[in-house]
């Protein structure tokens, strides 16, 4: 299973946080891979509408997430915002955000030579 996850919006635009994150379950530990499959199934992902419709009028700065899941020849894309009410999608989103955070944190190590520790 392959998941592509993109975040847009928010109170500020950060180039580094706007790049799509791809998660390939074949690269995950077996337990995490099956947990991810379970989350996708529990979210009834392939039955979810492509978008949950516009948020309330006047709403601003919420994130919009695009999730694409490819599994066994099937592919489906769902766009939701922070205001998504579906519990299954909320849980899946929580996992994806945490995963994206972990992958991004890897970008900080090893420390970039442009930003050496400040001298005392």
């Amino acid at each position: 299973m392959r998941i592509t996850f993109t975040m847009e919006g928010g109170i500020a635009y950060f180039p580094g946080l706007s790049r799509p994150v791809t998660i390939d379950s074949s690269e995950l530990l077996k337990q995490e891979a099956s947990e991810l499959e379970r989350l996708v199934e529990a979210a009834r992902f392939f039955d979810q509408p492509a978008t949950t419709g516009p948020p309330a009028r006047g709403a601003a700065d919420y994130y919009q997430y695009t999730i694409t899941v490819e599994v066994r020849g099937r592919q489906h894309t769902v766009r939701v915002t922070d205001l998504v009410e579906d519990a299954g999608l909320q849980v899946l989103l929580r996992y994806l955000r945490a995963k994206a955070k972990a992958l991004r944190a890897a970008a900080r190590t090893p420390p970039s030579p442009e930003h050496p520790d400040k001298p005392e």
Binding site: G9, F14, G58, R97
Partner: protein, 335 residues
């Protein structure tokens, strides 16, 4: 089970939005707003060739959009209910802070209401004080009684989601995440961010700017300006003493940056291996981008810069600000 009816307006808007998403696929696109036809027509007339063809395509395929354009605010009568002098004289805050307890369901449970003492939870108390400071600016400087000028209760939810790196306005309340501790601290830490979110409510009440392209950019700009003014008013600063930064204190020590945006020195707020480099362009003039898919994103990012160009023209005191902001609006439309 979710039932998708063929004639369900939500479904139609959804697929329309998908169409827009494809046509206007941008790094920071606002896919859920509804583009009014006059805007599309204007883009069709005045945009770059690429923008024009996109706008024309949209106009052609998208008649349902017009029919379904959510119009309660724009269709509302121009006359507004204004509070009588008695109400105005009261100027009372009505704040309520709720706790989502790291869930994503709003509003969460009430943890502090008007008149209650501090709770000891920094997120709760900062939100409470931030709402108060925002109320004070609008009331003291503009005689504006809360978000809608009719004493609307000010509501906020804190501890939204897990590791949630954001603050937003859901159309009715401000919502704050705690940050992930890796990149961001809690979003109530910065009073201008609170002013920014509440100002989205004011803007929606006054102008109903579409959250897309230039109107979306202007909406963000208004929020940044008033967000900063809330902070300046609290600190009793003059405009030339202010840092004009949005979101000081939000970054953790790991991040190489000072704030989300700088209105004084656009493009210098952060430069970090994880977040990237602050892309804010410095002037509206740099927006005459001939072509390319990044135009809309650049517009949105650039607009908050305008206030800094107005600084020399009299942002010296709070009372002068309303005029200056009107100037911003003219400037944006002209550009």
């Amino acid at each position: 089970m979710r039932h998708m009816m063929k004639d369900d307006p939500t479904t139609t808007v959804g697929s329309t939005v998908n169409g827009l998403a494809r046509l206007f696929s941008q790094p920071r696109s606002r896919l859920y707003c509804i583009l009014p036809p006059h805007m599309l027509e204007s883009i069709a007339q005045n945009g770059t060739p690429q923008q024009r063809s996109r706008a024309l395509q949209t106009l052609a395929i998208d008649h349902t959009l017009r029919a379904l354009r959510v119009a309660p605010s724009s269709a509302a009568p121009a006359t507004r209910r204004r509070p009588g002098m008695l109400m105005l004289a009261e100027g009372q805050k009505r704040r309520t802070i709720s706790d989502a307890r790291h869930d994503q369901n709003l509003p969460g449970s009430v943890v502090r209401a008007e008149g209650a003492p501090p709770t000891g939870d920094p997120a709760v108390d900062e939100a409470f004080d931030g709402l108060g400071a925002t109320y004070d600016l609008f009331w003291d400087a503009y005689d504006r009684n809360s978000i809608d000028d009719e004493g609307m209760p000010m509501d906020a939810t804190v501890h939204f989601g897990q590791d949630y790196n954001n603050a937003f306005w859901n159309g009715e309340r401000m919502v704050f995440g705690d940050g992930d501790g890796e990149l961001f601290n809690r979003f109530t830490i910065s009073i201008d961010v609170m002013g920014h979110e509440l100002t989205h409510g004011v803007t929606e009440d006054e102008a109903q700017l579409v959250y897309f392209f230039q109107p979306g950019a202007l909406n963000e700009s208004m929020s940044d300006v008033f967000g900063s003014l809330v902070k300046q008013y609290m600190l009793k600063q003059r405009a030339d003493q202010a840092d004009w930064l949005i979101g000081v204190g939000l970054f953790t020590a790991k991040v190489n940056g000072v704030a989300l945006r700088s209105m004084k020195a656009p493009g210098t707020a952060y430069d970090d291996p994880v977040l990237g480099k602050d892309p804010q362009p410095a002037h509206m003039i740099t927006l005459s981008i001939p072509s390319g898919t990044t135009a809309a994103y650049t517009l949105i990012q650039a607009s908050p810069i305008m206030p800094s160009t107005l600084l020399p023209h009299g942002w010296a005191d709070t009372l002068g600000r309303r005029r200056a902001v009107s100037g911003t609006r003219c400037c944006a439309i002209r550009d």
